[in-house]
Symmetry: C2
Subunit: 202 residues, 2 copies
């Protein structure tokens, strides 16, 4: 899966249309901030707000779904590239991003609104999952596979379960138990503790 069709707002090297893209995303965010729901928003209204023609929007995005995914992305930190030096450090990088995303959602009413509304719209969420979350999941799986190949992680555990063991404790705080703290060092503690449990035994 590639997310290229959805990454428009960040593609370098197209200065003129990049400015238009940014203006379009800004316009959508402004409308949402002013109280419009994603369901109500039309490409036409966003284009008008951005001061561009509908054709300019459609040149970059196939429709509202694709545009909204980039709107959400514009509010989030970009995915990191795990450096590959150690499985432990790569896992910390991925969990730390989850932690910071969780904090961002707690601190930004706008991000909160967009996430909640996208989540409520099944089709939109499925597209976001397929294009954004799936890429993160694949990154995690790669790190875990590398850990198994290198003998840093037991080889007898199901990959999906292994992923849940690392991400579950962070996810349950970020999404399910929003009253719980997300302190610095949380990613490190979770990774080090779980890693101790899943390393190969002599």
């Amino acid at each position: 899966m590639t997310a290229s069709g959805y990454a428009g707002a960040r593609l370098p090297g197209r200065p003129r249309s990049a400015a238009a893209d940014a203006a379009i995303i800004e316009a959508a965010l402004r409308l949402i901030e002013e109280g419009a729901t994603i369901g109500e928003l039309s490409i036409e209204r966003i284009a008008r707000e951005a001061g561009v023609g509908k054709a300019t929007v459609y040149r970059r995005w196939s429709g509202k779904e694709a545009l909204m995914i980039d709107v959400m992305r514009s509010l989030e930190e970009p995915n990191p590239r795990p450096a590959g030096a150690s499985v432990r450090d790569d896992l910390v990088t991925l969990l730390e991003l989850m932690r910071r995303r969780g904090l961002a959602k707690r601190n930004s009413a706008l991000l909160r609104t967009v996430v909640t509304q996208m989540h409520a719209n099944q089709e939109l969420w499925r597209a976001y999952d397929a294009h954004v979350i799936a890429a993160r999941r694949e990154m995690l799986y790669e790190v875990l596979r590398r850990g198994m190949a290198r003998g840093e992680i037991r080889g007898d555990l199901d990959l999906e379960l292994l992923a849940d063991l690392f991400t579950g404790p962070m996810l349950s705080r970020v999404i399910l138990h929003e009253w719980k703290a997300l302190p610095e060092g949380l990613a490190e503690t979770i990774v080090d503790t779980v890693l101790e449990g899943v390393r190969p035994r002599p």
Copy 2:
């Protein structure tokens, strides 16, 4: 915290009113099954459906909130009593219950409806959390504290984090990733793996 005021439907030794209690809970479930939302339901309507007077309902429950908590409970397996023989087995008991509750929710449209509607009603959910979920959480904390006291679990980890390490992987499957399987043996695998990571090191 005691849940006594909410446990009416299960209190033994009051045969005559116990039958009325069961009829009232059945009536509420029937109305929900027929499409009524919890928000719409009134004590009056439930009493009428059950063929009892409003006073009979109020004799047992302080109001709709308390009644709805027992309605939800009537659909769930009762809490287990961890036997206390080993921390490992107690943790398996608690996680296994989460797994079975997750399966029940996937298989029962009625339970699904009730959970979703209760969740959507902040006040109701808070009450359910305070009276039902909090009791389960406390049970888990007790098992973990016992594990630390007996030297089966490291003493330097925060209790809440420790709880998340065990329950997070199960919760993320049960609640967040409903497309993932909940196979038999999942509770055991999670407990054994995490326990290996949190046991004291020589």
